[in-house]
Amino acid sequence: MSEPLKFKFDVQGGNFTSAGQASVMVKKNLRQLGLSPEIIRRVSIAMYEGEINMVIHAGGGVAEVVVYEDKVEIILDDNGPGIPNIELAMKEGFSTAPDNIRSLGFGAGMGLPNMKRYTDSMNIETQLGKGTKITMTVNF
């Protein structure tokens, strides 16, 4: 079995101009690996939503994408404020994004729901005041 392929990115907090760069880069890399367009679409959308969440809420973080023979794993790790109520945060339309973020078209309360929608599994580990780690997988 071959060694899984890893891509790691630092996501800058508060920078909406460069937000999404890691996801676009991942999309490009996965395309070069010859994965199917639908898998690439699912991975890159789930990752973009997570990346935007880190930019808006957590002051940035680290995004890692690992490509195995049968799946892609996306790990998003931040040192932000944590999620007080995961059940509420998972509801479509629930958002804590400020108005200036909403004026950019974000903050629709669809980030976490979209991440779940486009992945086969999603695990959230969060600690108030310490940070959040989200692990998602997309199976081939």
Partner: protein
């Protein structure tokens, strides 16, 4: 129908057209970016009035055929350059999103 053909049929103004031969299969109308990523399908025409640089990333990731800006919305030069570099088609029209969508539906049947 390709994006280039769509421009001619609907008399749209071209802001960027790096991939004019891209096939169109449907359309989606929304300004909330996450909503677009959750609901728009690959190869859709995405009709919006948002014009910040994040629309380029969303169009790229959701794999839409083009962005169609309604109500005469234009792009800043730097956003235009990013769209061009990322291969994202961006068109604009003075018409409202409703008018564009209704006109588009007759071509997509």
């Amino acid at each position: 129908m390709t994006v280039k053909e769509l421009c001619e049929k609907m008399e749209l103004s071209v802001l960027t057209l790096p991939d004019g031969d891209r096939e169109i299969r449907g359309a989606y109308c929304c300004d909330l970016l996450s909503w677009v990523m959750g609901r728009a399908k690959a190869d859709d025409v995405w009709i919006t009035i948002m014009s910040n640089s994040n629309i380029v990333a969303v169009a790229s990731l959701a794999d839409t055929a083009c962005i169609l800006l309604a109500e005469g919305v234009e792009l800043d030069d730097n956003v235009k350059a990013v769209a061009e570099a990322k291969g994202i088609n961006v068109l604009t029209s003075e018409k409202t999103a409703y008018e564009l969508a209704s006109q588009l539906s007759s071509f997509l049947k």
